[in-house]
Amino acid sequence: MMEDNVTPLRPGTAKRLLVIDDSAIVRAYYRQALEPAGYAVEEAFNGLEALEKALTTPFDLAIVDVNMPKMDGLSFVRRMRATEEIACLPVLMTSTLDRDSDIAAARAAGVNLYVVKPIAEDELRRFTHIMTGAETP
């Protein structure tokens, strides 16, 4: 159902990323930055779709936007951390909000790393490598 757009470059070893953002352009940006680096990228439009996907496929990292319809990034992370099967998924949160209170709220929800948008591609790859423990290709 949702396997169509996953193209692992190194079958078997590719780390799986779940990119969660309501903007199709942002998702495409992450995909073109990360796929060539050997990641398998799956997309979700909001927190609810992300929960459904995370519950059916194992991922190594979720890259999560904050401002999204139906279920926002913080609610997604809270719900995920409270759901046994997916509680341990590492989360990189990206946001346009840069106040200390925003960052504190993210940390309290269980976000592992918080980055303010827009993110340069090499930075994105660096964080992703570190957070997934992937060998640099």
């Binding site: 903007s23 495409a28 999204m68 319809p69 279920m71 346009t96 827009p118 993110i119």
Partner: protein, 204 residues
């Protein structure tokens, strides 16, 4: 065989609200299902929007909020838009988007409100206002975004405009986008967003 036939569904209980006063009472009830029923019943009254608006501002039950917003959209009118607009500033993302989505569903009735919100001094409100324009194909909303994009100095807000223009823009949107990309040549994300948007616009 253990399966039993269900009793034929009871005819719906006669509407619990004989008059406007009972709707007003129910919309403040402690029972969420009463409040929801009252939201649906308000439709029948000329001041249905006011009845809902009053409670919506403080309502916290998600299912009741959903019923209220669906009814505001169903009643329609610029007045419904005026009730929804302040919710774009809500602290809850779910509520901000619910309001933006409802304003979008109101169509032309929301246009005057959109024109004000898209120029709001809070860049986060402008981002949500751009969401209202999504789906308003080929209309005045796209032209407004095109006109405002060059002067938008919050880059994330500008990116939200580009995101929406990629969906609702016309061939005439392209020069505006190119111009913006040139001015932000150092920003790789902007370049990518503009290229992607250009590829999605209808051909000239």
């Amino acid at each position: 065989m253990p399966l039993v036939k269900a009793p034929a569904p009871q005819t719906p209980a006669a509407p619990a609200f004989p008059d406007r006063a009972s709707v007003l009472a129910a919309i403040e009830s402690l029972d969420p299902s009463e409040r929801r029923a009252a939201a649906w019943a308000s439709r029948a009254y000329a001041d249905g929007i006011d009845i809902i608006a009053h409670r919506l501002a403080v309502e916290s039950d998600a299912a009741v909020v959903e019923a209220m917003i669906l009814n505001l959209v169903a009643i329609g009118s610029p007045k419904a838009a005026a009730v929804l607009a302040p919710l774009l500033r809500s602290g809850s993302a779910a509520r901000r988007f619910a309001a933006a989505e409802a304003l979008r569903d109101l169509g032309p009735d929301a246009l005057p409100m959109f024109d004000a919100l898209i120029r709001d001094e809070d860049p986060q409100v402008r981002i949500m206002a751009a969401e209202v324009a999504r789906g308003q194909l080929g209309g005045a909303a796209a032209q407004t975004l095109e006109r405002l994009l060059p002067d938008e100095d919050h880059v994330n807000t500008a990116c939200a405009f580009i995101d929406v223009l990629a969906e609702i823009g016309s061939a005439g949107t392209a020069p505006v986008l190119r111009h913006f990309a040139d001015r932000h040549a150092g920003n790789a994300y902007v370049r990518f967003a503009v290229d992607t948007a250009l590829a999605r616009l209808p051909a000239a």
